[in-house]
Every structure is written in structure tokens, then in C-alpha cells.
Symmetry: C2
Subunit: 663 residues, 2 copies
């Protein structure tokens, strides 16, 4: 072995147990990524046995330190650690079921499957932004709820990050913001192994990473030997001393340490084969025939985490009890997102209001409920005045004011998404963040991960169509509603007026383990006379009959969403006057509509009535509900909104003509 | 005015003409972004009159320098420059039509609309990656085609970049790669005005930008006074002296220079109002009542570019003529993407081949045609061995070998997309780049821009479904085919076997002004017996009858794509044996199918025959063609591919049952 290791036999045994569990699981699964776990096992061992405050018997203990494995491909590292320290979520049987259907040990760590996994990682860079979000959540809650004599929120966030993570743009965005915010509760442990899938980092990644992190305002260190426990421990101690900066520690490691192909890209992934497994075990002084073997003393060492964790949680429970008694605040309501029973009564009814853009209504809703739902923490990717996301009764979240509820994410949409997911998965907080709908593309990987990882993240996407106007096709959403609707488990809500905006926010806030997209207009929408038409309560069913045909027997149905509802109502009037009974269905959320009973859906959209969908976006996806569409199946154009709408066929005449053509 | 300007009256007049044209256009349009053009007018003036080699009378002259306005919101800057230097694409009438329907002066610059605009910018960060792509293209063509005595490719790339550009992750990715690649032909002029939409950059962007660029390996400079022409000129001269590094020059400017609200976020965007326009003109010593006014001497100065440009192009034409005569290479064939007439004969027929993954067939196609289509330049975002993107008869594109045709983009999917667009829009080259289909989300904004800007960029997305297997739901595409199909003008091709892969590449390569996505399987696909079933030539129509029903009168139609075609053929056999005549339609490209005549489409998918779509992705979008779907309307799962397929209903039994249920 190239590196001299200076540590006790038990230390070495504990480290090599991670390595051998990893390689046995990967060999059995015949797939997986040994490179990171084998190289980073010593760092992880030091972190988990000397620093990480957690309670294996209660993975959800609120004040635990958060550990993020941003290089999620190294999942056997965290599964090994969870198993060894005594988490019930990862039994030895589950390790043997690594990467098999229905196991708690999937290819990449998934928080919704496996207790002890904080966030879902694998798509590179995501974990770095999640970690920043977890650190922000801690700072925010500490600033708002801690008392001088009762620091009920007080934990650290550690992330193991890889070369791939640090090449991805999202990590740069998130790290720049973390440096700006002086997040001293955040430590990155960088697996600096100089290897990626294509080969040496010399092929494409020769920048000075630590100098870059200095430029971001981080504290930086190098551990020259990733097998030297003292060096690792000292670096973490030094990092923790610096409380006004996040820290990154570049740990020089050998990818796939112990494997015959260690130090090469071939050690990154794939089962090495039985012979190589045996050779590795011999290299490590392990019994080459022992499989999935954990020496008793290794279990004993790691499982000191159990009594330690119980003690930590008990102390915290005591502290919380005192806190609650002394300060009269029930922090558990916040943690558990228990809202006041009457919270929805604070939602504006928008009766007798003037016509506004739905983004403006949204801003009013936010401010009407922000005091009642203290969980909310808002923000925008530098479009605050446009997205109407400011909580006016609060301040900016800044390094000198972590209690502020308004985040300035900067022009960093992707990081905003990932950070919001981290905030949401910290627990207790409900983040919402804004940008233009078109730039949902920039944070799309984070939207997907929000959905996969059951994070209550609320995306406030304004300027949601060609109605954006003069900024032109680079900024006009056309395909984005469809593209977002395609993401499983995500609700995309496109409300049509003030009352629907209130309902949409109610849905988003009550949806405690899933994300929601709010699609909002830049331009004013038509006032819908709710005394004449149905109540916006139908929003709760995703789609509803807004205006029934004159004789209750529609010959044609117009489905509209958002800013096009006004047009459908005008078209209905013309069609009715032409003797064609016409129903208008408002469909703010197709996904929610799909969840209704077949009976309900058929009552709204009977099979035997011709249906025309009217939406200022691509027709893609609408044929499930409609026979034809007034849609935008090309890119937009730079012009005043009303001109673009007209040129693109969003006129009463065209809707009427298309509806008639169906009959 | 806060800054003393030391320059000739004519210089000042030329600079202020940009400013006044800008403000007049914005005021007339009642929208737009004055902040950048007003602040950067002096820099742009110096660049365009002292450095930029271009020919206004031939915007497509191949060896011109490339100018990128990455902060595309400052579009009036480039429209002013194009107009003033004599480009016919931007007449004074077009400037007066700024941001109006059908004009050549849309809100953000669009290359496909306006000659002289190199790339479409506005979505922040995009332009930085395009600029890197343009610089790569120049280095590559120079290395491959220049001779010691005939440097026919020899130009520089300049980009004006904004705070927003440099906050976006994509710029970090692209800049890191540019530094690694030592692109000495690239200069960023950074509009360092300390203001973004939310307010001061102190709110979220306090990193040391130039230190970060040093870390990337760039040459960095500061111009302390963005109104000082000598300082600007000297910095550009210094930048050009450094030929082994890209350069960034931070130009300290005052946003919205001259406006009453200069130096604040309020000067970033929006028409300032008639009074403010007049005040600005007075501040600049301009006639406050003059609108859209260009002094004769200003035209005279700027339009020196016309004879200068003609001279440059004439000299180059002479050089090219000599080159062609001496070296016998017709470089214009490359520039114009004139392929040998018989090039398609080099496409493999894959007759009698073994079953392989479609990504493997794709790798074979690439290597079969790479010599015949020298325009191709390949690469991958660090998944080269998985994406099968290597041109084996070439080498890596690296700083010491710009002639290499294999790019190592690193783990930077978004930058890869933007860089490829830049390479494509440089002219002559056809870039293709690979990643996993799921990570198409990371480069989605670049895919959209490829489509909007008519760039022939080929995206090679492998591992295109749950068939990815053990890596699990974080890596398994589910919604991506649908989401990509939603993008206007983009072709998404999902071939089913070797012959369809060949056809798909033929489509992508012949599509010279539009991008294509190739969706390819990780896993082996079934061999389709093309002697028994139809030829893969039908791929050219997007969808075709692969296997006709036994009696030519189908009772049911199964539509399949890609790796699911094998399953549909098996299901057909069972259905036929159960007495149900069944047609199988292969539908590798719905967009191309939609372009066929109604008659053809009806012949393939008659209205009166029940149709079942079978695709390992979301059902979203399929109801346009099918009555029901065997689809994946949830996230995938970590397990061997065959297990996931079975658990998710991709079995002959399920397809048969679903087909029967339709009858």
C-alpha cells in the first residue's frame, strides 16, 4: 500500500469495515461505485465518530447535525455508516440488497426511502446546494427562536463533495452565496482524488479549486493524506473554529483505495470482480473469504453513537422543555408544520377587487398569511420586484440578520432550487422562491429532486407566457407548463384570478411533503365575476365548471387556464349568442384534476362533448383532455403582450372559430 | 457628472450617440434596459472602433471577430453598434421599432433574426458559454486547417458580460473549462457596475470575481474608470498580449450613466420617462429635443468599419484563394457544410449484426462517418465511455492539441450545451455532446436556445429510461422525453435498433439549422428482423408501420419507440395468435411525424383503430396519438433494468392486456 497509516488497529479495522462492506455490496449487486467510499472511509470515520452529533435511534431528532453525501454515487459509504452506527433503516440484509428493487439501499441515497439520509443526491452538485440550504435553515431558525439561555437550534452541516460536484455550476452558485452569507456552520469535505470518469482531472479540471473558494469567502484547508486521521481531525477542528465563514477541506485521497485499480478512473465505478475483491481484502489485511463481515469491536466502536445520541437528544429535550415553559413558544408546532386551524381564513377573498396580474395577487396572499404561517421563508433569484415575493413584515436574510425571511438568492436559479430543497428538508420551514417561468429550466434538476425527495418547496414562477411581452422569446415561456406538468408528483398550478391564487397557495401550503409550482402572469388578468360564475373553491379539484352552458347541456367545452380564462369567458358569450351552449372549465391544475374520481372528471369533461383547450403554451399534453387547442406551438415574439396574443391567435374570434370547427 | 472624461469631442459624441439612441429607443418602446448600454458605451466604442475586425457589408464573413453581448438585456447596445457601423440589418427604422412585432430589434438579441448578432442571448450566463464555444471553434479550425503561410482562421472572441452572467453557474463551468483550455483568443469585458435588479451586489454577490477567474487560470485586469478610453484600450491591448490564457477585464461602470437614477437598480430597466430622457441628454451635453439623432461625423467615424471591413475580407479572400490553390483543400465546403454526395452510404446498415444498446450503435455510426463529415466535433460531459461519443480516429481537444475532435467538457452539462451552440454558430462545425438523458435537465436552457437560435447542435442522451437500472430514480429518465418533445422546433429521436440509429444520425446531420436530441438506450435492444418487417427508412417520416397486421386490417395498433419496440413486436405476436390483427408503429420522432401530410399520418394511425402507446416514460403527450399508454407515470426505482421493466408493467402480458382492454 502506498500510504503509511498511523492509527490504532481498531481505527483501521473500523475504516476497513466500511471499505469491505462497500466492496461486498457492490460485488454482490454487480454494480455500484467503490471509488469514493474506499478513498473517503477514513474521513467519514473521523467525522462520524468524533464530530457528528446524531441519534441513530431517532434519525429525525431535530437538532442533529446534518450529513450530506453530495457525491451520492458513493452511497455505500453512507449505508455503511448508517448500518454500523445502528440505524434501523439499514440492516445488514438491506446492505446485501444494495441496488435491488424495494430495498432501502438504492443506487443513490434517497431521503424518502431511508431514515438517516437527509437529502436525495446523485445528480452532481445538488448536494452542495442542499447543504447550503440546511445551513441557512439552521441559521434562520436559530436567529428567530434561540434564546441566550436556550439554544434549541444549534447544529452543524457537513457535506462530502466530489470533483464532479465542484465542476457543476450549481455548486459554484451555492458556494458563492454561502460565502456571502458567512455560513460558519457549514463544512465541505472535498474528496480530492484527481480522477473523474473520463480519466485524470488533468483532462478538463485544472483550476485552483481552493483559490476559487477563497474568492467566495470560504475558509480553506488541505489534508495531504486522506488516510491520516490526525490530519483529518485537526482540519475539522480548525474549520469549526472559523465561525464566520463556511469551510472547505480538500482531502487528498486515492480513489478506490485498496483495489488493484486504485488511483485510476477504473476504480470509480463497477463491481471489480471476485479476484479484485479478494486482492483488496488482502491489501487491507482482511480475511479474503470474509463477506459482509463486521468485527464485534467495530460494531462496539461505531455504536457508541447510540448512547451518545440518546444523551444528546435527552439533553435537548430537557432544554426544549425549559424553553417552552419559560418562553411560552411551542417550537414543535413549527417543526411539525402545525398551522393554526383557522389559517385559511387569512387568505384574501379578493372580493370586489380590481383587476391585477396573478403575480400581484400572489404577493398579497403571501403577506396576508406570512404572520400566521411562520414557517414561510421567501426569496427570489434577483427578481424580487417582479416576482412579488417579499414578506413585507420581515427583513432580508443577510449575514448580520439571519432572522430575515427574505432571501436574496442572486441570479442563481439552480442554486435557489437546491437551497430551497435543503431548507425544506431541514424541517419546519416552507421555502418559496421566485424567478421567471422560463428560467424554471435553470432550476429544473432541483424541481425534479424536490418532487422525488418529497420536499415542500414552492416555486413561484411569474411571467408565465407570451404575456411577458417585449422581452421576447428568450424570456417568454412556451413549453414550460408542459415540461413541468411532465414531472411526476409535482403540482403545477396556474390560477386565473385572485380567488384562484388564494386557493393555489392553500394547496401548496397544505401539501406538506411535495413541491408545488405556481405559474403566475406578468400582465393583468380579467376579473371573473364570482357572483355570476362558480366559486374558486373548485381549484381544490384541479379543474371545475366555472361557467355552465346556458341550458346546462353544453355543445362545446372551453378549457382555460390562468390568464386565458378571461378569453374563454368572452368566447363563451359569443358562442352562446350564436346559439351554441358553451361550458367553460377552469383547469388550474391538471395533476390534481387527474386525482379526482372518474365520475367527477366525466361530469366536468364528458366524453361526448367536443372540447377546446385554450392556453398560451404548447398544445403538448392537452389532447388528453381536449379535441383541439388554441395554443402556442412555436417560440414567442418580442412585442407588447396584447400584440403577441393577437398575432398568436388568442382572440375571441379565433377561439370561437376553432370551437365551431369542432362541431 | 461624477466622472471626468478625457477624450476627443468626436469620441464623446460617438459614445453619447449610443447612449441617446438607446434611451430614445427604450423610451419609444416604453420598455427595455438602458443600464448596461449607457454604462458600457465607452467600452463598446473602443472595442468596435479600435479592435473588432468585421465587415458590416458581409456579416457572415467567416474570419470576422465574434462579438457576444452576454448581457442580452442590453440589446440596444448592439443594435446601436450594428446600425452605426453600417449593418443593413439594423436600419434607423428598425431601431425605432425596438421591441415591436416583426422587427429585427427584439428585446434580446436573436441571431436568426438579425445579421451581425452572433448568438441569441438574454438568459443570463448563456452568452459566456457561447463565447467559449466560439473561441473553441476558432482554435479547432485554426489547428486543423491553418498552414504556416496561410492562417485562414484567425480571429478573436469578445464578450460583454454582466454581474448576472457571472453569478450564473453556467459561466463558472464555461470559464473553468476556458481556463483549462488556455483559450487566449477570448476576452470578457465585465460590466462591473455593482448593481443587480434587487439592488446592490452587496445583497448577494460579494465574492472576489477576479480572484475566482485567476483560480480558473484566466488573465485578469481592472479598468477603474469605465469612461476612460485609454484605460480601456490599454487593458484590451494587454489582454491580447496574453495568448495562453483567456482574459477578463473588470470595467468599473456606472449603470445607466447619465440618467437621473444612474448608479441604482432603478437604472437597470424600464423606460425612464420623457423628463428623465431630457435630463440625461442635458447631462451628456446633447440637444434635449433631438430624438434618434446621429451626427454626421459620428456616422462617418463608425462607418470607417465599412472600408476597413471590405479590405479585411478582400485580403482574406486572397489568402483563401492562395490556400485553396496551394493546398488543394476547399475550405468553403467545410464552412458551408457541403457534405460529399455519397456521405450517407457510409452509414452502417447493421445487417446481420448482434443485439446491442442503441448507444453502442450510435458510437459505431459516429466512427463510420467521422472521416466523411469532417465538420463533426464530439465530446461528453465526463461520460465518454458511457455515451460512446469518441471519434476514435482522432485525439482529445486539449490546450496542446486543438486539432483533437474529442472534447472533454468535464462534469458541466450546461456549459457543454452552451459551448456546443457557440461552436455550431461559429459556422462549419457540427458539435455533438453526450450525457445521460436525465441530465438533459442540466443543459435544458441551452437546448432551448439551440432551437430558438437555429443552431445545429446534436445532443447525444444515453441511458434514456428506467432501463438505466441500478443507478436508480435520480438517474432514470421518466419525464425527459416528454419535456424535450415540448420544446418547439427540436427533434427528439429515439431509435429502436441499429438501422434506426443510422437514420437518426442522417436526420440530425442533414438538419443544418436546427438541433436534434438522440435518445439512446443503456441496455441492449431487441434485434428487429428487417427482412420480415419494414425498412428503417421510415424513420425519415418520424413514425411508420413497422409490422402490419396479419390481414392488413388492424384491430389494434401498438406504437412503440426505442427500446420498447421489441416488446411491442412480442405483444403483437401474442395478440395475433389470440386472433387480434395488430399493427406495430415505430415512432422514433413525433415531431417529424407531425410534419407529414394528414394523409400519411392517417394511413399510419387511422382514427378508427384503437391505439396503445408503449414507451418507458411518462404518458404525458401520448394521448395525441394513442387511446391509452403503457407508460411510467412515477419515478423509477433502483434495481436491475429487467426487474424495473417488469415491476413497471413492461411485460408482454401487460401490453397484451392493455391492448385487449381497448377493444
Amino acid at each position: 500500500m502506498p500510504t503509511t497509516e498511523t492509527k490504532t488497529d481498531l481505527d483501521q479495522l473500523c475504516i476497513n469495515t466500511i471499505r469491505t462492506l462497500t466492496i461486498d455490496a457492490i460485488q454482490k449487486a454487480n454494480s455500484g461505485h467503490p471509488g469514493l467510499p474506499l478513498g473517503m472511509a477514513p474521513t467519514a470515520y473521523v467525522l462520524w465518530t468524533k464530530f457528528l452529533r446524531h441519534n441513530p435511534k431517532n434519525p429525525h431528532w431535530f437538532n442533529r447535525d446534518r450529513f450530506v453525501l453530495s457525491g451520492g454515487h458513493g452511497s455505500m459509504l453512507i449505508y455503511s455508516l448508517l448500518h454500523l452506527t445502528g440505524y434501523e433503516s439499514v440492516s445488514m440484509d438491506e446492505i446485501k440488497q444494495f441496488r435491488q428493487y424495494g430495498s432501502s439501499t438504492p443506487g443513490h441515497p434517497e431521503n424518502h426511502l431511508t431514515a438517516g439520509v437527509e437529502v436525495t443526491t446523485g445528480p452532481l452538485g445538488a448536494g452542495t446546494s442542499n447543504a447550503v440550504g440546511l445551513a441557512i435553515a439552521e441559521k434562520h431558525l436559530a436567529a428567530r427562536y434561540n434564546k441566550d439561555d436556550a439554544k434549541i437550534v444549534d447544529n452543524h452541516v457537513y457535506a462530502i463533495v466530489s470533483d464532479g460536484d465542484l465542476q457543476e455550476g450549481i455548486s459554484g452558485e451555492a458556494s458563492s452565496l454561502a460565502g456571502h452569507l458567512k455560513l460558519g456552520n457549514l463544512t465541505f469535505l472535498y474528496d480530492d482524488n484527481s480522477i473523474t470518469i473520463d480519466g485524470s482531472t488533468e483532462l478538463s479540471f485544472t483550476e485552483n479549486v481552493l483559490q476559487r473558494y477563497e474568492a467566495y469567502g470560504w475558509h480553506t484547508q488541505i489534508v495531504n493524506d486522506g488516510n491520516n486521521l490526525e490530519e483529518i481531525e485537526n482540519a475539522i477542528i480548525e474549520a469549526q473554529k472559523v465561525t464566520d465563514k463556511p469551510s472547505i477541506i480538500a482531502v487528498k485521497t486515492i480513489i478506490g483505495f485498496g483495489l488493484p485499480k486504485q488511483g485510476t478512473s477504473k476504480a470509480h465505478s463497477d463491481a471489480p470482480g471476485v479476484d479484485a475483491v479478494k486482492e483488496m481484502k488482502r491489501n487491507l489485511g482482511w480475511d479474503e473469504n470474509a463477506e459482509f463481515y463486521v468485527p464485534d469491536e467495530v460494531y462496539a466502536k461505531y455504536r457508541e453513537a447510540i448512547p451518545n445520541g440518546e444523551k444528546l437528544e435527552n439533553e435537548w429535550n430537557e432544554l426544549l422543555k425549559t424553553y417552552t415553559e419559560k418562553y411560552g413558544e411551542d417550537f414543535s408546532n413549527l417543526i411539525n408544520k402545525n398551522f393554526p386551524e383557522n389559517w385559511e381564513s387569512f387568505l384574501p377573498s379578493f372580493e370586489g377587487t380590481e383587476a391585477k396580474a396573478t403575480r400581484a395577487y400572489s404577493g398579497e396572499v403571501i403577506n396576508a398569511i406570512a404572520d400566521t404561517i411562520p414557517n414561510l421563508i421567501g426569496g427570489s433569484a434577483d427578481l424580487t420586484p417582479s416576482n412579488n415575493t417579499t414578506i413585507k413584515n420581515s427583513t432580508d436574510f443577510e449575514p448580520n440578520n439571519y432572522a430575515g425571511r427574505n432571501m436574496h438568492y442572486g441570479i442563481r436559479e439552480h442554486a435557489m432550487g437546491g437551497i430551497m430543497n435543503g431548507i425544506a428538508l431541514y424541517g419546519g420551514l416552507i421555502p418559496f422562491g421566485g424567478t421567471f417561468m422560463t428560467f424554471s429550466d435553470y432550476c429544473r434538476p432541483a424541481i425534479r429532486l424536490a418532487s422525488l425527495s418529497a420536499a415542500q418547496t414552492i416555486f413561484v414562477f411569474t411571467h408565465d407566457s407570451i404575456g411577458l411581452g417585449e422581452d421576447g422569446p428568450t424570456h417568454q415561456s412556451v413549453e414550460h407548463l408542459a415540461a413541468l406538468r411532465a414531472i411526476p408528483h409535482l403540482f403545477v398550478l396556474r390560477p386565473a384570478d385572485g380567488p384562484e391564487v388564494s386557493e393555489a397557495w392553500a394547496i401548496a401550503i397544505n401539501r406538506k411533503t411535495a413541491p408545488t409550482v405556481l405559474a403566475l402572469s406578468r400582465q393583468k388578468v380579467a376579473l371573473i365575476d364570482r357572483t355570476k360564475y362558480s366559486s374558486a373553491k373548485g381549484t381544490q379539484k384541479g379543474g371545475y365548471i366555472l361557467a355552465e352552458a346556458s341550458n346546462n347541456e353544453p355543445k362545446v367545452i372551453l378549457i382555460g387556464t390562468g390568464s386565458e380564462i378571461g378569453l374563454t369567458l368572452q368566447a363563451k358569450d359569443v358562442l352562446e349568442s350564436d346559439g351554441i351552449p358553451t361550458r367553460v372549465v377552469s383547469m388550474p391544475c391538471t395533476e390534481l384534476f387527474d386525482e379526482q374520481s372518474a365520475k367527477y372528471r366525466d361530469s366536468v369533461l364528458p366524453n361526448n362533448v367536443k372540447t377546446l383547450a385554450v392556453e398560451a403554451g404548447v398544445s403538448f399534453g392537452w389532447h388528453k383532455y381536449a379535441d383541439d387547442c388554441v395554443a402556442v406551438d412555436k417560440f414567442g415574439a418580442s412585442a407588447p403582450a396584447e400584440v403577441v396574443f393577437k398575432e398568436y391567435g388568442f382572440t375571441v374570434e379565433n377561439v370561437v372559430a376553432k370551437a365551431k370547427a369542432l362541431l
